[in-house]
């Protein structure tokens, strides 16, 4: 009886574990392996690491670090990594700036209003990411609504280039990832004990003082979670720079895509992915640890 129970328990644990091992964890090892190969014109387009030469019974093992050396020697890739980190960081900051008042207002609303506002934040999250990015293309075009509006109000005299600039990429990232920022912020702000604010006020704190000294420190877990949920995926973003960015908007996700689909250099694309993972491991571990603390 007990062993049957054990068996069942093990099976329940093993099924999701084996699936994730096979299709989430092992693929990273494969990427690492192929990043050590050389690109060649073949199917698949990379050299094998192990080769059995049957004519003279040699087993050759060939590994190259050439792809990594190439990544570090060429200014282009380094610039792409740095520019992705910069774009993701600045976008995260603006998402926080726009998201915080919204989260704060929702957390302080009455229950019915809260449900409605929360629904308004969650709704875009359920609608297509690709289509929401696309919606900005029509707005930002030379003869799009934003230019029309700026012309009509007299802020500019002739249409300006907004689409296909870095600015459009920032806008796109802030826009699409905003719900990811608002939801964790809302969760921490909602749990906050409002008596603390009254206490601060009674002790003579001005509203801005109690905001910076009480509300903000208490919201820290939400701020960290929200920022990481925006920052990490934004670093590797492909769709937004491809649709809204210019040809000179350098982002590493786009570089990886082009290396893979246009140049068909699978080993180099793998090396780009491995380095991106190494860059992101820090923030991902940090997120897991702060999750644990929150529990």
């Amino acid at each position: 009886m007990l062993s049957k129970l054990r068996l069942g328990r093990t099976a329940v644990i093993l099924v999701p574990m084996l699936w994730l091992a096979a299709f989430f964890f092992i693929p990273f090892l494969v990427v690492f392996k192929i990043s050590l190969a050389e690109a060649m014109i073949a199917v698949p387009p990379y050299s094998p690491l192990l080769q059995w030469d049957s004519s003279n019974a040699y087993l050759t093992f060939k590994v190259t670090f050439g792809n990594y050396l190439y990544l570090f020697e060429s200014r282009f890739y380094l610039d792409a990594y740095l520019s992705s980190l910069k774009i993701a960081a600045i976008s995260t900051f603006f998402a926080l700036l726009i998201g915080f008042p919204i989260a704060y207002l929702i957390a302080r609303s009455r229950p019915t209003m809260r449900t409605i506002l929360l629904a308004l934040v969650i709704l875009p999250f359920w609608t297509s990411f690709l289509l929401r990015v696309y919606a900005w293309m029509a707005l930002l075009k030379k003869n799009g609504l934003v230019n029309d509006f700026l012309l009509a109000t007299g802020i500019i005299d002739q249409p300006i280039q907004i689409l296909q600039t870095d600015f459009a990429v920032y806008l796109g990232i802030v826009y699409t990832y905003l719900p990811f920022m608002i939801l964790p912020l809302y969760t921490t702000l909602e749990k906050m004990d409002l008596n603390l604010l009254d206490a601060a006020q009674d002790l003579g704190a001005k509203p801005y003082q109690s905001f910076f000294l009480v509300t903000l420190p208490l919201a820290k877990p939400g701020i960290i979670a929200g920022c990481l949920l925006v920052f990490i995926p934004a670093v590797g973003e492909y769709v937004i720079p491809a649709l809204l960015g210019g040809s000179d908007t350098l982002m590493i996700g786009r570089v990886l895509w082009d290396e893979f689909f246009l140049n068909r250099d699978w080993p180099l694309a793998s090396a780009v992915a491995v380095v991106m993972l190494i860059v992101l491991v820090g923030p991902i571990m940090f997120m897991r640890n702060s999750n644990k603390e929150a529990e």
Binding site: L5, F23, V121, L131, Y134, A135, A138, E237
Partner: protein, 272 residues
């Protein structure tokens, strides 16, 4: 003073909501535009909706995507429920920390990395074992199941964490076997979480461009892949019509779900 700051807050938050919704509303309005030039208003018309349903490439891609989304969401719900259950109800076991990591990491993993790594896995497997032979619906389903699984697991896990364990303990004390305990007590309690996990997986799968582009084969373009190849060249009115249909459908479903949940909560509160 307090009044003043709350007005400022409302203005800031209001501007935030305008920012969230203006592009979507503009897109919907322009889908009814008669003119082919998307941004020039030529009067109201349903012309692009007619064109949309006549476009066979879009329609067949939509069918492929719906099929993939249905299968992936179902598989992800089963595997994700197991993972969420294991993580929140099973005491320490070897590899628990690893499983936690594997469940949370896909949520933030850049899609280009997930897509590339799965493709390379499929290619290597095909080389070694001859499976999967070529790429198409099967490989996309496996990829989508994997990243949707993580979302289901997180939703189920948080639902289980908020549940009172005494019900399950009482059933156990009364002699319920683990399987009947799970199917008679736990499963009905977490059903709402599983349903929302399924719906979330369905929409995520329906929306995915990057991962599907990596792991799909020739002749198996999903809807986002077709949309992307069209909009890359510029704004197209048929895509506006398609976007409007998708956004309106999803909005109605989400609003209905929220209203139902809100009513149930009020009912529960009233019975307390």
């Amino acid at each position: 003073m307090k009044q003043g700051s709350s007005v400022a807050l409302k203005v800031m938050a209001g501007a935030g909501f305008v920012f969230l919704y203006a592009p979507i509303i503009a897109l919907i309005v322009y889908s009814f535009n008669e003119s082919k030039l998307v941004t020039v208003w030529g009067g109201w018309s349903l012309k692009w909706y007619v064109e949309l349903f006549r476009n066979e490439q879009i329609m067949s891609a939509a069918w492929v995507s719906l099929k993939i989304a249905f299968i992936s969401a179902t598989m992800a719900s089963i595997l994700g429920t197991l993972a969420g259950f294991v993580l929140s109800r099973m005491r320490k076991f070897a590899g628990k920390a690893m499983l936690t990591g594997w469940v949370t990491a896909p949520l933030v993993m850049p899609e280009v990395i997930t897509g590339l790594s799965l493709l390379l896995l499929f290619v290597s497997l095909e080389n070694m074992f001859g499976w999967p032979a070529g790429r198409g619906v099967t490989t996309i389903v496996i990829a989508h199941t994997t990243f949707c699984l993580a979302y289901v697991a997180v939703v189920v896990q948080s639902r289980l964490a908020s549940l009172d364990e005494t019900l399950e303990e009482a059933a156990m004390d009364l002699g319920a076997k683990p399987t009947s305990l799970f199917f008679l007590i736990t499963l009905p309690l977490i059903a709402p979480a599983i349903i929302s996990g399924w719906l979330l997986s369905f929409t995520l799968s329906l929306d995915d461009l990057v991962i599907a582009s990596f792991v799909s084969g020739p002749g198996n373009s999903t809807l986002p892949m077709v949309i992307f190849s069209k909009v890359r060249l510029g704004v197209t009115p048929e895509v506006n019509a398609l976007a409007t249909l998708m956004i309106v459908t999803v909005s109605i479903a989400v609003i209905a779900a929220i209203v139902i949940m809100h009513r149930q909560n009020r009912f529960k509160d009233a019975n307390k």
